[in-house]
């Protein structure tokens, strides 16, 4: 299902994309056979050939240092790049191996654009990584990374995120984490965190109250969410490191679906019924400077900010059924996002790339996930089949979407690429829902230079 979900920007970046993977058959480890793979529908993906990343052998064939972590780095790195939505791993075709012209020519002829080589150093505790442009033979990335012995996958994620940032413009999401809700005791939900690779599942909140719809602060330090007290639904924040909570509001009625402004970390947008029916407001995180943006007697909720902070999309049933609307962040210029007939839509989320919104659409009796451009053109339905899919949220690089689906019989979190491909299950168990993808991890704990 090849989609042009990242249109012109991607083309200009990735027209060069070629990728060859060159596997040294002569080396001692058994490498998996990697076959020439050209993505159906075109060459939108950047071809990268991964080579090296091997443990060091001395002259008598004995491995020095620890061979296992570097293998894990290579395997995880290949997987991260292959799933990234930008890169594709390609093998050098057998028929081209004997061609004259040298390795780079062979790789170029196989369709690769870049050559990624890793070499361990410091007795296997770090790895030097170079990315070479096969056309110019210039090294466009050269970095040294610490190999974390107890979690070599994290090293791979940081390398992958650096490469994704280089080609995609936004820092990659493979090292980041996802917050979500799951019932802890029989009645109430708590906030949990899980790494984007599915590891490290851990409980964050111990509130013993019913909570929904968490959202991250731009610095990744806090989550804001809505929780039920004795009488009302109120807004609350929780510090991700300490678990300490802070109530923002105690207004009557329901205060729901808060989200931080991406450009002003002191401001949240949210929906509240304090004036009678649910409207969109902004306020400061201390609850002051309350400002009402919408003014309609029907329901307005689930605000999501554009990455430049100038617009807000939200759900409203002012036309009869819930649909996605867009307005300026001062409340002016309200208009429908799409002109789909008889639409029943909800749960909008604006891509951090700015060029797409993801939302849900009701088909028959269950929901599927769609994206559209901010002007409402080019609506693409990404999911289909059994199960109801809800709460879609973008990864911080705008290349993936995490969402809830009941396809497995109970609610669980899934991740797919922004074109709907590469669906994979993230959580285990049952009743895992309402995900929110954290801002990207900096990688400063792994990159030796750490100059960023």
């Amino acid at each position: 299902m090849a989609q042009k979900s990242i249109a012109q920007k991607k083309n200009s970046f990735y027209l060069l994309s070629l990728l060859i993977i060159f596997i040294f058959a002569g080396k001692a480890f058994a490498q998996p056979e990697v076959h020439l793979s050209i993505r159906a529908g075109g060459s939108d993906y950047v071809g990268v050939n991964i080579d090296g990343f091997e443990a060091v052998q001395d002259t008598s064939g004995v491995f020095t240092g620890d061979s296992v972590p570097i293998l894990a780095v290579r395997n995880t790195l290949a997987n991260d790049l292959d799933q990234s939505g930008i890169f594709k791993i390609i093998a050098l075709h057998d028929s081209l191996k004997s061609q004259t012209g040298g390795l780079f020519a062979q790789l170029r002829n196989s369709g690769a654009k870049y050559y990624l080589f890793g070499k361990t150093s410091n007795n296997g505790t770090t790895v030097n990584v170079n990315l070479v442009d096969l056309k110019t033979a210039l090294t466009i990335l050269g970095e040294e990374y610490i190999i974390h012995k107890d979690r070599p996958w994290h090293t791979a994620h940081v390398i992958a995120d650096d490469l994704i940032e280089l080609f995609g413009g936004l820092r990659g999401s493979t090292a980041s984490q996802i917050a979500y809700m799951t019932p802890y005791k029989a009645k109430n939900n708590e906030i949990f965190l899980i790494d984007a690779d599915g590891r490290g599942n851990r409980q964050l909140s111990y509130s013993n109250s019913l909570s929904i719809s968490p959202n991250w602060s731009p610095d990744g330090k806090n989550l804001v969410f809505s929780t039920l007290t004795e009488e009302n639904w109120v807004l609350r924040t929780i510090n991700v490191s300490t678990g300490r909570t802070q109530d923002i509001s105690d207004w009557p009625g329901q205060s729901l679906s808060p989200s931080f402004s991406p450009v002003n970390p002191d401001i949240i947008a949210f929906s509240a019924s304090r004036d009678g029916n649910n409207e969109i407001y902004t306020c400061r995180t201390d609850g002051k400077n309350l400002r009402r943006l919408t003014n309609h007697y029907k329901l307005d909720l689930s605000p999501t900010w554009s990455p430049d902070g100038k617009k807000i999309a939200f759900t409203s049933d002012r036309s009869g059924q819930p649909m996605i609307y867009v307005m300026n962040s001062d409340g002016s210029g309200v208009h429908r996002l799409t002109d789909r007939l008889n639409a029943y839509e909800g749960s909008p989320c604006w891509s951090p790339r700015g060029d797409r919104l993801v939302f849900v659409v009701l088909f028959d009796r269950s929901f599927d996930i769609a994206t559209a451009s901010p002007s409402g053109d080019d609506t693409v339905i990404l999911t289909s089949g059994p199960g109801s899919k809800e709460n879609p949220r973008w990864s911080p690089d705008g290349l993936k979407i995490v969402y809830t689906s009941t396809v497995g019989g109970s609610k669980n979190l899934y991740i797919m690429n922004s074109d709907g491909s590469n669906v994979r299950l993230l959580t285990k168990g049952i009743n895992n829902f309402s995900p929110a993808w954290a801002p990207a991890s900096s990688g400063n704990d792994t990159r030796v230079s750490s100059r960023r």
Partner: protein
């Protein structure tokens, strides 16, 4: 001579009636204590009689098994359906009869749609029931409302049948 005779007769008559009266009353006095004694012989002695505590209001006492009927709704709707009118009416009558009872109306939804949309929809369902009751004449001071959205399903299944059971407003008793 005539006047004095009349006076004498009058005085005699008065004297006789006075005697008669005193005689009757003393007779009554003597008989009543006798009657009382015969009555009280069968009763317990002495202590002041215990009077059962009378209720401070005039309502009926609330039966222990008092319960209200759950009201059901169509998908994405909060209007009261005609087939729910009987249940609504019965709920109102119960509140009207047992005036000390206070309630909380709790709105719920099936699991489809965002959690926050369902909080709002659940509140609209609760509000619909509250409005019916207050229009009936029940004081709004006796009624609170809240929405749980989809978070407290009655049936955790994913079928149409399960969903139908979850689209509801429940009434719980907060004071008797």
């Amino acid at each position: 001579m005539f006047k004095s005779k009349v006076l004498m007769i009058f005085a005699l008559g008065l004297a006789v009636s006075l005697v008669g009266l005193t005689g009757c009353s003393s007779k009554k006095k003597t008989t009543e204590p006798v009657k009382q004694e015969t009555k009280t012989q069968t009763q317990r002695p002495s202590a002041p009689a215990v009077v059962p505590k009378a209720p401070e209001r005039t309502e009926e006492s609330v039966p222990r098994d008092l319960a209200f009927t759950t009201i059901y709704f169509d998908f994405d709707k909060s209007d009261l359906k005609s087939d729910q009118r009987a249940a609504l009416s019965k709920n109102a009558q119960l509140l009207s009869r047992y005036k000390s009872v206070k309630i909380r109306v709790e709105g719920h939804c099936d699991e489809r749609g965002t959690e926050e949309y369902n909080i709002a929809l659940g509140q609209r369902r609760a509000d619909a029931v509250v409005n019916y009751l207050t229009n009936y004449g029940i004081s709004s001071s006796r009624i609170r409302s809240i929405s749980y959205g989809e978070m407290r399903p009655s049936d955790s299944g994913h079928s149409d049948g399960a969903w139908a059971k979850n689209r509801r407003a429940e009434i719980s008793i907060t004071a008797r």
